[in-house]
């Protein structure tokens, strides 16, 4: 069994006096689709924010491909191979679809400021390459018709695909999806499940997602971890986990989850 892609060790994070995440440890093996579920406020998004470097954990280690990434700036963590989508879509509304995705390839370019001021051949060549790579991705995501439309004019489902495309453009090894199925009808959810599987299979990306949508979780996740109040309360295969009493208790009395 090779080393896990992502290994979180004894991670804790406090906001002032409030413990958001405590003594959190788990491994995400390479190639799986891993789910993190739990009631609202249980610390799931905080966990993502900690992994992507938006917050620095008060204690603990986050090992990505063996390297401890705690304390690194978010953009560097992206360069290392972790990409992320957001719960409330964060797209670049006034940019076109192609520009939205191209931005995520920018860090791979070498041409500096002067080369861009003067439009030197080396710069132009790189720009063409980035554009071609982006168009490839757009075709794979079935967004060709929208390539030159402003992102703010896209319908919700296509925006989700755009966000995934943008995250994929960073050529990640691990992709964090924050409630990707939020606000989707059953057909859209089905399409999303297929998309996530395709991303994992064709792009060789390990998927780690947060979701409330139980059908989605049981339909697509290979392993699932349940957290509440910042600590693990269950882990394992989805069909086993949802039956555990502790998990049912955590959800009892709270807003009904779509089952």
């Amino acid at each position: 069994m090779s080393a896990p892609l992502l290994s979180i060790q004894d991670m804790s994070h406090y906001f002032g006096g409030l413990k958001a995440v405590s003594d959190f440890s788990f491994d995400v093996p390479e190639g799986v689709i891993y789910g993190l579920i739990g009631p609202n406020g249980s610390g799931k998004t905080t966990c993502f924010n900690l992994i992507t470097g938006i917050y620095t954990p008060t204690q603990g280690k986050i090992l990505f491909q063996g390297e401890n990434i705690v304390g690194q700036k978010p953009f560097r963590i992206v360069h290392k191979g972790i990409a992320r989508t957001f719960q409330n879509l964060r797209i670049f509304s006034n940019l076109t679809v192609i520009d939205n995705i191209r931005v995520a390839r920018h860090f791979t370019t070498r041409a500096g400021l002067f080369a861009s001021f003067l439009r030197l051949p080396s710069f132009l060549k790189e720009q063409d390459q980035v554009r071609d790579e982006t168009m490839e991705l757009i075709k794979l995501m079935h967004l060709e018709k929208r390539a030159y439309d402003l992102a703010k004019n896209l319908p919700y489902g296509e925006l989700r695909r755009l966000e995934v495309a943008r995250a994929l453009a960073t050529r990640p090894k691990l992709m964090l999806l924050d409630e990707p199925a939020a606000g989707m009808n059953p057909k859209e959810t089905e399409d999303l499940m297929n998309l996530v599987r395709r991303v994992r299979d064709e792009f060789k990306v390990t998927i780690f997602l947060i979701e409330h949508h139980m059908k989605f979780v049981t339909g697509i996740c290979e392993r699932v971890k349940v957290i509440d109040f910042g600590t693990t309360i269950a882990e394992g295969k989805p069909e086993d986990v949802v039956k555990e009493t502790k998990v049912l208790e955590a959800y009892l009395g709270r807003k009904a989850v779509v089952c």
């Binding site: 992206v78 964060r90 797209i91 670049f92 920018h106 790189e126 943008r166």
Partner: protein, 331 residues
């Protein structure tokens, strides 16, 4: 590979230059109009650079004229105090160009310093800090006797003429356009759109926010130098919050995020100011209505409020004219 495309911007620039130059040489445009055109072009640089910081990168700078002040005083000191240069000596013109660029560099250093607060502060607070920096620059200049203190730096040789100003303005626009329509520019735009998502798409947002200030300050410093050598004086009051506010009105009127808009607004508002001044003087002297030129500023204030209430996107919004867009192969 890009095929040979028409260099639209170069053609447009050349047409403009040739037409105005002919009008000057044939005497159709007298010195008065030439000064207004020259000032318009300088304000094009100032508005476009403020647009780079506020409109493209999404920061908020209220002390932009401070950068111009640095450029004005540095270049003015070189041509007036250190070397007493004259426009009639050919080599002096070359030193003048170097002085202008040095002024820009000095301004860029200041821009770098001001860029740092932008990393930690947002919106309102950033606005106040940049305003504070602008005022600090003005206060310091007001108190340095070597450059004239409250009297200002006087007797600056008149190196700025239509050709020089046109060339600097043209190149500024070309370079800014190239920057904005490159992947560096898109990185800056993405910061404006959603800074968190930008960072999480691998963009070094720190680097680009500071870069916006540095590049904007550099060209603003050049504009300041050109202005000082046009008006033959550099005075602290020219570069205070009011001047920065007028720039702000220009950029909003033209469209935050549109270089085309900044060009149009700079020319329009500079001509409008002159027109209003002439009109008010006429009303006061010929018709006898007791109004002063302060009414020009009242109109500008109302214009700004009007724009913010009814047409925040200004004239061009975020669009560019086709002349300024670098064509790209659509796949």
């Amino acid at each position: 590979m890009d095929k040979m495309k028409l260099p639209k911007l170069a053609i447009a620039g050349a047409i403009f230059y040739v037409i105005v130059q002919i009008l000057i040489v044939t005497g159709v445009l007298n010195g008065y109009f030439v000064v207004i055109i020259n000032r318009s072009m300088i304000f094009v640089i100032l508005a476009a650079t403020l647009n780079l910081i506020n409109g493209i990168t999404g920061q908020f700078s209220l002390g932009h004229m401070g950068f111009a002040a640095v450029g004005a005083y540095v270049s003015g000191t070189i041509t007036t105090l250190i070397f007493k240069l004259s426009p009639h000596v050919f080599t002096d013109n070359l030193i003048f160009i170097a002085a202008i660029i040095l002024g820009g560099c000095a301004a860029a250093v200041v821009g770098f310093l001001i860029g740092f607060p932008s990393l930690r502060l947002k919106g309102d607070y950033l606005a106040i800090v940049t305003l504070g920096f602008g005022e600090i620059i003005r206060t310091i200049l007001n108190n340095i006797d070597y450059v004239g203190g409250p009297r200002g730096l006087l007797g600056i040789p008149k190196f700025s003429d239509f050709t020089v100003i046109f060339l600097f303005t043209f190149f500024t626009i070309v370079l800014l356009r190239n920057l904005v329509q490159s992947s560096h520019g898109r990185a800056m735009l993405s910061i404006r759109e959603n800074e968190l998502a930008s960072e999480l798409s691998g963009v070094n947002t720190t680097h680009y926010k500071v870069l916006g200030f540095v590049v904007g300050a550099f060209f603003a410093g050049i504009a300041g130098g050109l202005l000082a050598h046009l008006l033959q004086i550099a005075h602290p009051t020219q570069y205070g919050f009011y001047a920065s506010s007028i720039l702000l009105i220009m950029v909003y009127a033209g469209g935050m995020g549109s270089l085309t808009g900044s060009i149009i607004a700079a020319f329009s508002l500079t001509f409008l100011t002159e027109g209003l001044r002439v009109g008010i003087d006429w009303l006061r002297d010929s018709v006898g209505i007791p109004i002063g030129t302060e009414w020009t500023m009242v109109i500008y204030a109302l214009l700004l409020i009007f724009i913010m209430l009814f047409k925040t996107e200004g004239f061009m919004g975020m669009r560019e004219s086709k002349v300024l867009i670098i064509e790209e192969k659509h796949v």
